[in-house]
Symmetry: C2
Subunit: 490 residues, 2 copies
């Protein structure tokens, strides 16, 4: 191996931390809690962005951009928002530096103090709804279906690359509607867009559900979410879509005149996914050899490594590879030829395994004689020697198979680690093993918080699909409408 990686079994958390660094995805910066997303990590994020952005546009949304800063007073406008939202924010108090007395550095100019402090956006509902007030007057101005790609800051005490960082990148959709029904439909539509993206592009199976009151976004009437299971059995919330009711419209005084000439408050949704998806991607598929990337998101889907002893062999291989690359590119495959002669083939094999390139093609002297190549798939590490005739179709089919296979593998893992639990004693035992526990719950925040305090497990969601049989709460014995998912979570 080019770079030794702690195994998952040994220390899952350390495996993750090392993998992010060694696969060149991201690193800590000089600023506490803020990460640097390195080119390889950013290339994957860019592919996520492009795909999501296309999906948003297909569903009628447009992009816009709202300010990075939010006047402090805005945060207090929506009572539940400020109450419920974490107050760990970056606060801008001054707008100028000046040279220090010694002339060798800078200090904050005390005379340049802002009248009202500005908060670096932790989320943009308040600044956006203060803007929408000017955009919305009549039912003709609705709906507004805006999204923005932006950076946000939440001052976290304990950070982990991609999973929890002070600054992170995300998209936040903010929509305005004339009716409750339309807004609820929108919140659910975007949940489905996220689920579709997670499953069909990231190959990450997700449970669609709704959050309990306790886990709801501050200011929302309903928070829909997609929950994924990582390979250590912990849950990761991969995306949320909020039905905000009229809370923000009322807080920011956003009215419209309906078709009957009546004044109404506007209905709202917001929805977002972030660079946290990178964490979900890594922890769902990767193994002790490194990253495993779904072909649809891999910056390089195929890498070709030549194995030669003589310059003549090298040239002959190169000729064959050029033809193969042209053929693959014509089929829309992203392919890289690593002809670098300062590294040995073995080093390259380990490197591309670490980087999660879905398919590796190796061509050596014997292959030249036989008209063959060796194809290796990253997910199962299986190798096969195939004829160069028809190799392009084979590779395309293989990429498709890898995409499907890693999804199925993750799905099976989740299914194997999702179980019904019918008593609290059983719960306490089972939660130690990880996974999703399907339990009856009485619907109260009190019970939820007691369980959380005692077991560190939270309600990940009340699933939208599946079994809706009522029962009795395993904690209090009170009636329960349906089983919910309890798990420990990232």
């Amino acid at each position: 191996m080019a770079k030794e990686l702690t195994s998952r079994a040994e220390n899952y958390s350390q495996w993750y931390n090392e993998l992010v660094i060694k696969a060149d995805l991201a690193e800590q910066s000089a600023v506490r809690g803020c990460m640097v997303i390195k080119p390889y990590g950013y290339a994957i994020w860019e592919r996520m962005q492009r795909e999501l952005d296309d999906k948003f546009k297909e569903t009628g949304h447009v992009n816009a951009y709202f300010p990075l800063f939010i006047p402090k007073s805005f945060l207090s406008r929506e009572a539940e928002h400020v109450e419920g939202f974490a107050k760990e924010c970056a606060v801008v108090t001054h707008y100028r530096l000046k040279t220090n007395a010694e002339g060798n550095g800078v200090v904050v100019d005390p005379e340049a103090k802002l009248e009202e402090e500005l908060i670096v956006r932790p989320t943009s509902e308040t600044i956006i709804w203060s803007t929408y007030k000017n955009w919305i007057h009549s039912w003709r101005d609705l709906p507004i279906l805006c999204n923005q790609w932006a950076n946000v800051v939440r001052w976290e005490m304990r950070t982990r690359l991609f999973l929890r960082t002070a600054e992170f990148l995300w998209q936040e959709g903010h929509t305005a509607h004339a009716t409750r029904e339309e807004a609820e439909e929108e919140a659910k539509r975007m949940l489905n867009v996220y689920a579709d993206f997670a499953e069909n592009f990231m190959a990450v199976p997700v449970v669609k559900g709704v959050k309990s009151a306790n886990e709801r976004f501050a200011g929302a009437l309903d928070t829909y979410c997609i929950e994924a299971m990582m390979q250590d059995g912990k849950a990761l919330q991969a995306g949320t879509s909020h039905f905000l009711g009229q809370n923000f419209a009322k807080a920011f005084d956003v009215h419209f005149t309906d078709k009957d000439g009546k004044e109404q408050s506007v209905w709202a949704t917001s929805w977002g996914v972030s660079t946290r998806l990178m964490g979900a991607l890594i922890m769902t598929h990767s193994d002790d050899n490194g990253l495993v990337l779904p072909p649809k998101l891999a910056p390089d889907q195929v890498v070709i490594v030549p194995i030669y002893k003589t310059e003549e062999q090298r040239n002959t291989i190169r000729e064959k590879v050029e033809k193969l690359m042209a053929g693959l590119k014509a089929k829309g495959v992203r392919v890289k030829f690593d002809d670098n002669d300062t590294k040995k083939p073995g080093w390259k094999f380990a490197e591309y395994e670490l980087k999660g390139v879905p398919v590796r093609v190796a061509i050596g002297a014997r292959d030249l004689e036989n008209g063959t190549a060796e194809i290796a798939r990253r997910d199962t590490m299986e190798k096969e020697t195939v004829s160069m005739d028809g190799i392009e179709e084979k590779i395309v089919a293989l990429l498709d198979d890898v995409q499907k296979n890693i999804f199925q593998k993750a799905l099976k893992y989740r299914e194997a680690n999702t179980r019904e639990v019918n008593s609290y004693d059983e719960f306490k035992e089972e939660i130690e093993k990880g996974g999703f526990l399907l339990c009856h719950w009485d619907g109260t925040t009190e019970t939820e918080e007691r369980v959380k305090a005692e077991t560190k497990a939270t309600i990940r969601c009340i699933p939208l699909d599946g079994d809706k049989t009522p029962g009795t709460c395993i904690f209090t014995g009170k009636p329960s409408k349906q089983r919910v998912i309890f798990a420990r979570a990232y």
Copy 2:
């Protein structure tokens, strides 16, 4: 007209401000100096981004992401950088809010004071070079060719939408090289990428040049720039590319071992364009009826407006339009059908003129009888009735012609307003008329500053191409190597 616009002749500055608002491009936000980029404006910016990003990737660059915040002490590391760079920055001093004593709002928690203040990045050389230190050890690690798309903040006292805002969006490329030659070549390469983009996509003619010492980026050895002329004769700097020498490498201690095993400091460039390009785009082409957009950047290249009296006519038109739209889309044309029946055709015509849609197609009852349509081009406002047979090819050719025509028009305007000036008396007279003045200059900052103080004109650049005949400075009579461009600027 749907929305009356002040004419350029009446008040150019007011015309610009009104146009940005009325064409729905951007607006002021609740935060002083920060703008909201509205969906229509953002759609144009997105097209700019996509095109530039493709060009960066074609020239071997990759994207990455670096922190929003910069530790205050970093700014002092490169002496000229901190000396020369504006100190108007947003300063983060605290990381937490708390509920106020009355319980109805939030205040800054005095206990959550940062040990070292963080600056919201005004540009990222310092944080990036502190990162590159860990990435660069050997000549094998070079070159590094990174770009980032990001928001930056420079606390401006007087702001104007797109042209000068406290927060703006931009891209900043930061490259690291083993040799001086390679870095200089890179800085020039990116200048050419910018010039190509400005001329061939934005249809904005630019002069490529190098800045005088006085106008150089703080910390650069050379600042290359592209300068455009607006319709009021003022210059607008549309992009810059800096050869940074080894200044940042030395300040952040970034060394590498060269092929001979010797320790060397790394050579650097940085280059950027921002949402200011939106201002250049608007002010180069637009007229008293509104925006004029180059087809390559227009979110909608063609709008089709139906003119009908009966529902039957409407349906017949719709059938024809669907076929036309399919044909245009197949040719890669972005086309919109405005079938909204709450607005009259006349209103729509004015609206799409205001929005700068390059080509408008109108189909009415008489057109149905004759198998024709009316095509209007936005740039010249010319209309023509054409047969529906072959209309698609005609539209494609027309879009191409509009793109070329507005470039030529802008080029002619610039040429007509660029003149050689040979005495300071003449200079003082000519500068009042606007435009670019080609003058001999003695190469000193002293002269440059005197001229600026007296006339508000600055040296926009020392042109890279064109006349290199030496002469004598029109201000001091001292020797001059070549004529430089003086102008008043945005």
